[in-house]
């Protein structure tokens, strides 16, 4: 009753407006892009660079005449590292601002909060963070790397370089749990062994006893899937105990929060990481991007992180799809994206993989060196094999869940 009445009022108002100003006036409104990132609270180390890049991407788009001749406007929400606000703001973005797309969510927890809300209110969703993989939802696109794209490459590389025995320390949440299982899988497949896997909640700062346990286990190298500000203490305490020199380390989380800048070079030099994007990636798109970006945000901008580039590429993929669809309408844009849209991004070629809604992209192994990353080896066009094993949205477009990938 109340619903129909409200709709009636709205329709009446819209009709009146259309009559007064002419219907086309509405088509000229800006296209709204919602941003749901933590700009305060513990996760802002990740959120801020992402919003910076999103702001930049939108400014660029507008400078180039906008999309479909319409300006793009950023509606920026600070979710304050608070799950309740993720729900509230996802609702607001979908219902009040009626944005064309939402970019955002950092932790898997926040994504799983946003995802059902945006599904329910039929608003397109881009999740631009590297994560544990397995999300299968036609309304969502994932532009970050998953373990099959990075862990699969880095484990054998590190084993070849250092030896077969690995000790895993991981953040105690979805990503850490699942990533460490992937490490174990790839280590055993390559004839190595995992000495132990230790999990740490994200607020742990005292790693003394873990460090001595690692010393007792004498692994050839340590795999870190530690995350967040508190876990930086691990690297500090590790180096303070004189271990940085004797046992090397590999990671698919280090650097995402600019750890290589926070720590001193002698605390983390030589560490191996594997991501889609490094500032040092050599291609014309990246050179041009960095030049423009530094002009806007200053040459002393610390570092364009993996997550920030994921966000930039997510926006570009969406923008291309809008152009291709000739509309910002959700279903039309999804259709366009599902044609396997592809862009020449700063990280290299990035293509939407239609069955999984994840990305086919380049990954690189790099070494930490004096607050920067030295690229060591490139792996072009990696497929999201893990998610592909469980998810096929071409066959089951109505599938909607996060799979836990069994192997």
């Amino acid at each position: 009753m109340s619903v129909s009445r409200r709709h009636f009022l709205q329709t009446a108002a819209a009709t009146a407006g259309a009559a007064a100003f002419g219907a086309p006036a509405f088509a000229e409104d800006a296209i709204l892009v919602g941003s749901l990132h933590d700009l305060s609270g513990g996760l802002d180390i990740y959120g801020k660079p992402m919003v910076d890049v999103l702001t930049f991407a939108i400014e660029e788009a507008n400078a180039g005449g906008g999309l479909l001749g319409r300006q793009v406007k950023l509606i920026n929400y600070d979710t304050q590292s608070n799950m309740q606000l993720y729900t509230q703001f996802a609702q607001q973005a979908a219902l009040k601002d009626k944005v064309a797309v939402v970019h955002g969510g950092i932790t898997s927890a926040s994504r799983e909060v946003i995802r059902p809300v945006l599904d329910k209110f039929k608003t397109l969703y881009f999740y631009n963070t590297q994560y544990e993989g397995g999300v299968c939802d036609r309304n969502q696109f994932d532009t970050g790397v998953t373990p099959a794209q990075t862990v699969e490459k880095l484990v054998p590389y590190a084993m070849k370089k250092w030896g077969k025995k690995v000790y895993v320390v991981a953040a105690d949440y979805n990503y850490g749990q699942i990533t460490s299982q992937w490490v174990k899988k790839y280590a055993t497949e390559n004839g190595g062994e995992v000495a132990a896997i230790d999990f740490f909640p994200l607020d742990v700062t005292n790693f003394a006893s873990t460090i001595s346990k690692i010393q007792a286990a004498k692994p050839d190298f340590v795999w870190s899937a530690l995350v967040g500000g508190a876990h930086i203490s691990f690297y500090r305490q590790w180096a303070a105990a004189g271990m940085a020199k004797s046992i090397p380390m590999a990671s698919t989380t280090f650097g995402v929060g600019n750890e290589q800048i926070v720590l001193n070079p002698d605390e983390c030099n030589g560490m191996l990481v594997c991501y889609n994007y490094f500032q040092g990636v050599k291609n014309p798109a990246n050179t041009a991007f960095l030049e423009r970006f530094h002009k806007r945000f200053g040459a002393d901008y610390p570092n364009v992180t993996e997550l920030a580039m994921g966000t930039y590429q997510g926006f570009q993929l969406w923008a291309d799809a809008v152009k291709k669809a000739g509309s910002a309408d959700r279903l039309k844009v999804i259709d366009a994206l599902e044609t396997g849209i592809s862009i020449d991004a700063p990280s290299g070629k990035v293509t939407i993989d239609p069955p999984t809604h994840h990305c086919i992209l380049d990954v690189h192994i790099a070494e930490v060196k004096d607050r920067k990353f030295d690229l060591l080896e490139d792996f072009p066009q990696q497929k999201p094999a893990d998610t592909a094993a469980v998810c096929d949205l071409k066959k089951n477009p109505n599938d909607n869940q996060q799979y836990i990938i069994k192997f």
């Binding site: 305060s40 006893s209 001595s212 010393q215 305490q237 001193n264």
Partner: protein
């Protein structure tokens, strides 16, 4: 044998760091009955003070041991003047105000320093115990904790300032009768508590990361330690830290850090149940 020595150092370190982060709060809460929820942010500011000072070329030891306490002490004095001064005797209101202050300081720090701050790495290198390597800085932190507690004790017991402070806390009129302005005493005490907290923040900066929201990790633990210790500032902090630190580290070693944390908290509950006035409410009653 190596393991025993290693474990002993780790337990001592856990105790020392707990005592360090708590003693400033113990002074502020114990002597002034102000529940300072911004305590964690005072620690955080101590860390930033040390880092920034070091960045501008000040020797790391001076940055940690002198600059950090001075800066945070000064901030404490300002906070006391502008906020706490109006709230004495209103314990609950100080809680709300300092919670606000905590948010404010986190926001301010983020705005000023951004959230990618180059940290300090621990000086002093490492040494070997059998097949284990331990950071020498660990021993330094233990030493600082001892010296700090000893210093506070000596201050309270032997100096006129300490005497006056104790007097004023027990009875403001008495201090007034001694010709001391109780407001002055409160100011100085609050600033002193803040300075010690800043010292702890500076000294711990190379061990744990420094970022705007690090305070949350400390505030509950310090508060539990102070309450567990009871009325006597130094003895209380020392005994409660000894108990909780040992429980925490041993449980962590035997199981996981989470379990260590839970064991600490559980120990606190049992302690308060057995000694509803804290340790020094029952034992060491006449201590300071």
């Amino acid at each position: 044998m190596d393991l025993v020595a290693l474990l002993a150092i780790q337990v001592l370190y856990a105790i020392a760091s707990l005592a360090l982060i708590s003693v400033g709060l113990a002074i502020i809460f114990g002597m002034m009955k102000v529940i300072n929820l911004a305590h964690g942010e005072f620690l955080m500011l101590g860390g930033y003070a040390a880092i920034e000072a070091n960045r501008y070329g000040i020797n790391i030891w001076i940055a940690m041991l002198v600059v950090a306490p001075l800066v945070v002490g000064a901030i404490g004095a300002i906070v006391e003047r502008t906020i706490i001064r109006w709230l004495y005797g209103r314990m609950i209101d100080t809680m709300l105000a300092t919670w606000g202050l905590s948010l404010f300081l986190v926001g301010l720090t983020t705005a000023v320093f951004g959230n990618t701050t180059v940290g300090l790495s621990a000086p002093l290198g490492s040494f070997e115990i059998g097949s284990y390597r331990v950071s020498a800085y660990t021993l330094f932190v233990i030493a600082v904790a001892f010296v700090t507690l000893g210093g506070v004790l000596a201050m309270l017991r032997f100096t006129r300032l300490g005497l006056v402070a104790r007097g004023a806390m027990q009875n403001a009129n008495m201090a007034a009768a001694l010709g001391v302005n109780p407001n002055r005493v409160y100011s100085v005490t609050f600033a002193a508590g803040a300075a010690l907290t800043g010292l702890a923040g500076g000294v711990l900066a190379p061990v744990s990361g420094v970022f705007p929201t690090i305070g949350v990790a400390y505030v509950a633990k310090s508060f539990i330690t102070v309450i567990g210790g009871g009325a006597a500032i130094v003895t209380g902090t020392a005994t409660a830290s000894a108990l909780f630190g040992a429980v925490n580290q041993l449980a962590t070693y035997a199981t996981t850090p989470v379990f260590g944390e839970v064991a600490l908290l559980a120990a606190a509950i049992v302690l308060i149940r057995l000694l509803p006035q804290g340790i020094t409410g029952r034992f060491f009653r006449r201590s300071l």
